[in-house]
């Protein structure tokens, strides 16, 4: 190659959660010219996590907010441009990738997609109506509104069980409603939940309707085994039924799995050379901060090699 086509950046990282920020750290230390684009402000989904005790290096654990802030502070020590903006689409054809924003286009050799995932909705009647009026997706944000009240949690994974336990700090009673008879959550969380006298499990069941007046007052619950419908009086419902990837902006060349998570190889490279996917947005067996930041280090390393090869 005679010369490398001139671009605005060598790498653009989309998303400022733990994965995106870590990619920024590694890329800046490799002296890549790197831009990090974040839609709101850096932090990501862990901002809503009350306590993280499986991220090594913090023996007592720490809040999601504190961990996010520490990672953001660490990124700020290196030469990473961070801008507020949202990629509306990517042009993936050809060696130069272009990110289309509302007011401008950014050209780059490589892209790391770290846009994460958002909580799934239940898609049942009342969910939209009572959003912010008893329906919540964030226990750390909204838990303290339910002092001495009765709440339900829908879900059986780590987030549902962990946040269910967290809610017992405030609520008088916490129902955990799960569509199966067994939890998917980590064993240590299950043990804590089973031991907690404020938690009662409702197995093999789903919420089919959320009802009330000014705020949530009751749930209709269907037993998926027997088909029977019952009513449960609660003041709030916290929904933790998995996540969906934030991928509205992808070009069609980037392959995803059947649920929309981006498929990447061991170098975190997607089906488009020079485009990488890391963290919760990636098709991965485990979505944790510790796995997201590992993905990011590999992707930044791969992007550096890709850029180096362009210069040969």
């Amino acid at each position: 190659m005679d010369s490398v086509e001139s671009v605005d950046y060598e790498l653009v990282v989309i998303g400022g959660g733990p994965a995106g920020l870590t990619a920024g750290i590694y890329a800046a230390r490799s002296r890549l010219k790197v831009l990090l684009l974040e839609k709101v402000v850096p932090g990501g989904q862990i901002l809503t996590t009350d306590w993280i005790e499986n991220y090594p290096g913090f023996p007592e654990g720490l809040s999601g907010y504190d961990l996010a802030r520490k990672i953001a502070d660490q990124t700020a020590r290196f030469d990473v441009s961070i801008e507020t903006g949202e990629a509306l689409s990517i042009e993936c054809k050809g060696p130069v990738k272009r990110l289309i924003l509302k007011d401008r286009t950014i050209s780059t050799h490589t892209v790391i997609i770290a846009t994460g995932a958002s909580p799934n909705r239940l898609s049942v009647p009342g969910e939209e109506t009572y959003l912010g009026k008893g329906v919540s997706f964030c226990a750390t944000c909204d838990g303290p509104f339910y002092r001495d009240k009765i709440v339900a949690v829908m879900g059986g994974g780590d987030t549902a069980v962990q946040e269910g336990i967290f809610l017992t700090k405030f609520a008088e009673k916490v129902y955990i409603i799960h569509r199966r008879k067994e939890l998917r959550a980590t064993k240590i969380l299950q043990e804590r939940a089973f031991k907690n006298p404020k938690i009662e499990f409702i197995w093999d069941s789903v919420v089919t309707k959320i009802d009330g007046n000014d705020s949530v007052e009751k749930l209709l619950i269907k037993n998926v085994k027997t088909g029977s419908i019952s009513e449960l009086s609660v003041d709030g419902l916290f929904i933790f039924v998995g996540t969906h990837p934030n991928t509205d902006f992808l070009c069609e060349e980037i392959k995803t799995d059947e649920r929309g998570f981006i498929i990447a190889d061991k170098n975190m490279e997607t089906s488009v050379p020079g485009v990488y996917a890391v963290g919760d947005v990636r098709d991965t067996p485990l979505r944790q901060v510790v796995t997201a930041v590992g993905d990011a280090a590999i992707a930044a390393f791969s992007a550096e090699q890709y850029v180096e090869n362009l210069k040969l």
Partner: protein, 107 residues
């Protein structure tokens, strides 16, 4: 340039409801991570729109009356007021553009 006004249960009526100026109040608390995402955006908006819109923040821990008057059970919640009425309500941390669009309705 304007600062973010500290809205309390005692000044809410005079500063927001009875004010001639439209207003936006950010309901927040120290224990809420996403609230901390929204706070710097609200500060920027106060600097930009503060001469035309009262931009305030209300700590829901210290001021329980006002949030319950509006049935707030999720934070951050941003409420845009004009002539004492709720014009727009935004729940959760959203991009600056969305908040600006809500503000445009009262300008």
């Amino acid at each position: 340039m304007a600062e973010v006004l500290e809205v309390t249960d005692s000044n809410f009526e005079t500063e927001i409801i009875k004010s001639d100026k439209p207003a936006m109040v950010d309901f927040w608390a120290a224990w809420c991570g996403p609230c901390k995402m929204v706070a710097p955006v609200v500060k920027e908006l106060a600097e930009e729109y503060g001469d035309r819109v009262t931009i305030g923040k209300c700590n829901v821990d210290q001021n329980p009356v006002t949030p319950s008057r509006y049935g707030i059970r999720s934070i951050p919640t941003l409420i845009v007021f004009k002539d004492g009425q709720v014009v727009e309500q935004i729940i959760g941390a959203v991009p600056r553009d969305n908040i600006e669009a809500a503000l445009q309705k009262v300008l």
